[in-house]
């Protein structure tokens, strides 16, 4: 969409939005529409000179400003928002349908009612919605216990698999919420063992038990912002630099990198912070010929040593090419 289209679309939504909310603070309107206050004021100025043909008194769009608030007085007939476009209707209806089918979602009834109303308002624009389906994974084994803990406000005992060390650990946690990201379900909780907020992938929970102890996450246990990435590495973790060939470039999408640089062969040079060098060693072993370790040197030598050890189990065939 061009800049003008985006702006026109925003202005056509802005008028009815303001009409529905007289006396809203200008700063709040700007935040709602994701623009700066200065920009919003310029757009209000622009609206002010638009209106019905003739452009006489009463034909033009008009506002009253009181303190730092704004109220629409004349709308020039733009009193309702435009219908949803096919993309908007599709994205919203498909998302609601996916939610309605998510196992473990408790407000299914509300989702169903919202879906019916949105479909009715979208009309024909929602017609292609049957051509897009999102299957969110169900989690029937661990989730009911987790939800019981959240409902009752009680702690959980988890036996949890830690892939970086390839071992199972035991811990008590204070559950905070459940997330589903990229088809996987996670429990976000305050971990009593590590004294920090941790995400636990439910399919890596080997065993879960509801405890009698009330859950009391400390005040510093804040849910993390998952709009960007689930995994925010701590700044004191080891900095690892990898040269990724094109076949391994997905690593840059799956793991948050401090920097990503394109190289001349179509690959990437990435720098990432890892809490545990064992995790990086396993990643590099997994990527094999598609990655080169640029640093730290001990990671490169650990990888070589582990690969040589693994190779020794294959006997004579490992020496012939």
């Amino acid at each position: 969409m061009s800049g003008t289209s985006a702006q026109l679309s925003r202005l056509l939504t802005l008028l009815p939005w303001l009409l529905a909310r007289p006396g809203t603070r200008i700063a709040d309107v700007a935040a709602e529409f994701g623009v700066t206050e200065a920009r919003l004021r310029r757009e209000l100025d622009l609206l002010w000179v638009c209106g019905l043909p003739g452009h006489g008194p009463g034909d033009l769009i008009d506002f009253s400003f009181e303190g730092d608030t704004v109220t629409v007085i004349e709308t020039a007939g733009v009193e309702r928002p435009l219908r949803l476009t096919v993309d908007e209707a599709l994205a919203l209806v498909v998302a609601l349908r996916a939610l309605a089918e998510t196992p473990g979602l408790r407000d299914r009834d509300a989702v169903d009612r919202a879906l019916a109303k949105v479909e009715r308002a979208a009309g024909e624009a929602a017609a292609p919605a049957g051509r897009v389906e999102v299957a969110l994974e169900g989690e029937e084994r661990v989730l009911p216990v987790v939800q019981a803990a959240l409902d009752a406000g009680r702690q959980l005992h988890l036996s949890y698999y830690v892939p970086a060390r390839d071992e199972t650990t035991d811990r008590d946690v204070d559950p905070m919420r459940v997330l589903v990201v990229e088809g996987r379900t996670y429990l976000e909780a305050w971990c009593r063992r590590t004294e920090g907020v941790r995400l636990f992938r439910l399919d890596r929970v080997e065993d879960v038990r509801l405890l009698d102890t009330p859950a009391q996450p400390p005040p510093e246990a804040q849910p993390r912002d998952v709009s960007q990435s689930l995994f925010v590495p701590s700044p004191d973790a080891t900095l690892v630099t990898l040269a990724l060939r094109p076949a391994a470039a997905w690593v840059a999408e799956y793991h948050p990198c401090e920097s990503v640089q394109e190289s001349s062969d179509g690959g990437l040079t990435v720098r990432l912070r890892v809490a545990d060098l064992a995790w990086a060693r396993r990643l590099v072993l997994r990527l094999g010929p598609h990655v080169q370790v640029l640093g730290p040197p001990e990671l490169a030598s650990e990888v070589r040593a582990e690969a040589a050890l693994a190779l020794s189990a294959y006997g004579p065939e490992s020496r012939s090419e």
Partner: protein
């Protein structure tokens, strides 16, 4: 971006919404500021571009005549009932569900679309508070082929692309009438009718190589009857393993491999042997190599060879 152009387009929308009669091009020219200073030719070109721009935003521009007389010049208007979002009011829990749905997509174009849909609902008076829910599903669509496939499915338009099936080195060109896209276990698939093979096929979008090109007109995809898209993808995903590898694992290690194992038995001395389905030896090597010396592939030979190649390359670095 030009404020003048936005102003002209906004005045045009207001003017066409206000009229019940169809307005001729000349009537529009004299009524809407911004069309008055150009030559006739320049005005016509500008008006054509403006019409396209309004239609792109989904504004229903109607053309027609005010009487049946055939010398009546056709004109334009916007029918209010086609333009305006119908009344919608949501209970608090319904609004929360819509808010949750709007946060589902982690892909920029889809998140943008739900975002602007939500703003329109809010402009219609709906209040959708951002209340964190107990369960917060997120769906990404990072596959480069996704946007083009979404458009093709939305518009019912055949497509052509290069595709690299599992275990085959060279991509092949496929032409498909797309029936739908399905997100399954965090990955996107395209389901449709492969016109070269004359059969239903499922494609994993991450295996599409390069651009997805249109291969027909919008609306030319033929109906498929009652194909269950999701079931088709589930079948394909379940069919994927074509061979079984026997893998020796140190006791307690290789948790993820154990999760996928079809059988597990102890092998003495702190080792187990598991059986794992796979389709492509190199992909099996991907899954195995990360565990280093805790895992040894026993059979079949091609899977062993893939792991040995992988480890040799790592030792040589």
């Amino acid at each position: 971006m030009s404020a003048k152009k936005t102003e002209r387009l906004l005045n045009l929308v207001i003017c066409l919404l206000a009229t019940r009669r169809f307005l001729t091009v000349q009537q529009i020219r004299s009524a809407v500021p911004g069309y008055d200073q150009d030559t006739e030719d320049a005005f016509r070109r500008m008006f054509e571009r403006d019409k396209d721009e309004l239609r792109e935003l989904g504004i229903p521009l109607e053309t027609g005549t005010n009487s049946a007389a055939h010398d009546d010049e056709p004109g334009y208007r916007i029918a209010r009932r086609d333009y305006e979002l119908p009344d919608i009011s949501l209970e608090a829990d319904e609004a929360a569900a819509v808010g949750l749905a709007a946060r589902l997509w982690q892909s920029a174009p889809l998140a943008g679309a739900t975002g602007s849909a939500l703003m329109k609902l809010r402009a219609a008076g709906v209040d959708a508070p951002v209340a964190p829910a107990l369960l917060e599903p997120r769906v990404a669509a990072g596959e480069p082929a996704f946007p083009a496939c979404w458009d093709a499915v939305r518009d019912g338009r055949p497509v052509r692309f290069e595709y690299r099936p599992a275990g085959r080195p060279a991509p092949e060109v496929r032409t498909v009438e797309p029936w739908g896209v399905v997100s399954w276990r965090g990955r996107w698939y395209l389901v449709g009718f492969d016109t070269d093979r004359q059969a239903q096929r499922v494609f994993r979008l991450s295996r599409v190589v390069g651009d997805v090109q249109p291969a027909g007109e919008p609306g030319s995809v033929r109906p498929h009857g009652e194909v269950d898209l999701r079931a088709a993808v589930a079948r394909m995903a379940a069919d994927e393993p074509r061979a079984v590898a026997r893998v020796r694992l140190r006791t307690g290690a290789g948790w993820e491999l154990r999760q996928q194992a079809t059988s597990t038995r102890p092998d003495g001395d702190g080792w187990d042997v598991v059986e794992i389905g796979f389709s492509d030896p190199d992909r099996l090597a991907d899954r195995v190599a990360g565990y280093g010396s805790d895992v040894v592939v026993l059979s079949p030979p091609e899977a062993r060879a893939a792991v040995v190649r992988r480890l040799q390359a790592l030792v040589a670095t």
